[in-house]
């Protein structure tokens, strides 16, 4: 099967290659309240959660998800305090998947259109970027979503669950493979 590369490298210094996060990151990267961008009891708090699956549909119990987001008013905070959370909203969080492949964040719905998402896993040789769009917005106006086939677009839009939470499953491969992103003009493959 051919590997499908991202865009060619940009001019400038050649980037240091990525490598898999491997299986042994759990004592190093997760930390207390890593997935709580706001305390669960906060008014307006919402859960963003889902399952990471492989190409056979099996859950991936050794994946790590990070999100970056705006606050409810659409401002992206640039403040410290993500590792030792003191109640301030930093707009960044981290969640490892559990043995069932599940991850969960407690946060607020961003004022912007989507959560920026990066995925790491054992077996995944470099990180993957994607977006979790909020459902119910004007998705046709989005430059990315508007050019995707309906099946692909669906992989990027979170689903509103009956309990009000947002479900965003990640499929690394397969029929429902998530659309992953590269940023040729402003960042990374």
């Amino acid at each position: 099967m051919p590997d499908l590369p991202g865009p060619p490298d940009l001019p400038g210094l050649p980037a240091t290659p990525g490598q898999t996060v491997g299986p042994f990151f759990h004592d190093a990267l997760p930390y207390e309240r890593d997935h709580e961008l706001v305390p669960p009891a906060t008014p307006g708090a919402v859960r963003l959660h889902g399952v990471v699956r492989d190409g056979a549909g099996e859950p991936v119990p050794d994946a790590l998800i990070e999100i970056r987001q705006a606050d409810a008013d659409g401002a992206v905070p640039e403040v410290e305090g993500s590792l030792v959370r003191d109640g301030g909203f930093t707009g960044w969080g981290r969640a490892a998947t559990d043995p069932s492949g599940r991850y969960s964040f407690t946060t607020v719905e961003p004022g912007g259109a989507f959560f920026a998402v990066v995925v790491f896993a054992r077996g995944l040789l470099d990180r993957l970027f994607t977006r979790a769009y909020l459902p119910g917005r004007d998705l046709d106006a989005d430059p990315l979503l508007s050019r995707l086939a309906p099946g692909d677009r669906e992989t990027l839009v979170a689903v509103r669950e009956p309990d009000g939470s947002l479900r965003f499953d990640v499929h690394l491969q397969g029929d429902r493979e998530t659309v992953f992103l590269s940023f040729p003009r402003g960042g990374a493959r």
Binding site: L4, P5, T16, A28, A113, A116, R127, Q173, G186
Partner: protein
């Protein structure tokens, strides 16, 4: 067998890729975990251009020394590992988080899923963090990790390595990688390292022994710089720079 597969893929593949192939069958765990669709090229939006911010309320200075976390000294060859974190235009990534984790000198992780029958070291967790300084420098004191067996194929051994988790000035620069040691004979046999098909790109993951960093009667020194992909600059600036 696996070495033959690696050699075949290197011959067939293009050699100018600076990043690993995501679909690299010699690394068995990649088979069902690599995407098959082309990555969608998008212009990053604000939220993707603003990296998370970390500060001294997040990370204490002692976290950069992995040899002082126990009641005694860990067993092993004491090392200083230091270098700079730069963006794709060579600008330092200042005051940003660097996280590391590694096996102990016997090749064993504290991790509950590590089944390698090698001894744990009660004085070594293998976990550290620091912030880069105003010129993008990071610095850790640790011990040299050992190689260890894994189940990818018969008699598979990972070369000694330190895992690095890195943040840039933009969210799109987020990277996790592994630093290796010069002269390690296991590098040629390792499917994870060899998933980078360009030899010059692979070399960028290997630290350099630096006698200037070596401390008299205390620790040997290694230098390893990291360049993250791209920058926060606009496409217009980039074209001007390189026209």
């Amino acid at each position: 067998m696996v070495s033959h597969e690696i050699a075949t893929l290197h011959r067939e593949g293009e050699s100018s890729r600076t990043q690993p192939r995501l679909d690299f069958p010699p690394y068995r765990s990649s088979l069902l975990r690599h995407p098959t669709k082309v990555l969608q090229q998008v212009d990053p939006e604000d939220v993707e251009l603003l990296a998370p911010v970390f500060g001294h309320s997040d990370v204490g200075p002692v976290e950069a020394d992995l040899t002082i976390q126990g009641r005694g000294e860990p067993i092993g060859e004491r090392l200083v590992v230091t270098g700079r974190v730069l963006d794709g235009e060579g600008r330092p990534v200042r005051h940003q988080l660097v996280e590391v984790w590694q096996a102990n000198a016997a090749g064993r992780y504290v991790h509950k899923r590590d089944q390698h029958p090698a001894p744990l070291d009660p004085h070594f967790t293998g976990v550290g963090r620091c912030l880069t300084d105003g010129d993008g420098w990071y610095r850790f004191t640790t011990i040299k990790p050992g190689p260890y067996p894994w189940r990818n194929h018969h008699n598979a051994w990972r070369p000694a390595h330190i895992h690095f988790s890195l943040f840039g000035t933009a969210f799109t620069q987020r990277s996790i990688t592994q630093m290796y040691f010069p002269g390690d004979p296991l590098l040629a046999l390792d499917p994870i390292y060899q998933a980078i098909t360009d030899p010059a790109a692979r070399d960028r993951l290997v630290a350099t022994y630096d006698h200037e960093l070596t401390q008299h009667e205390w620790a040997t020194g290694y230098r390893w710089d990291v360049v993250l992909t791209g920058s926060r600059s606009t496409p217009v600036e980039r074209e001007d720079d390189h026209a």
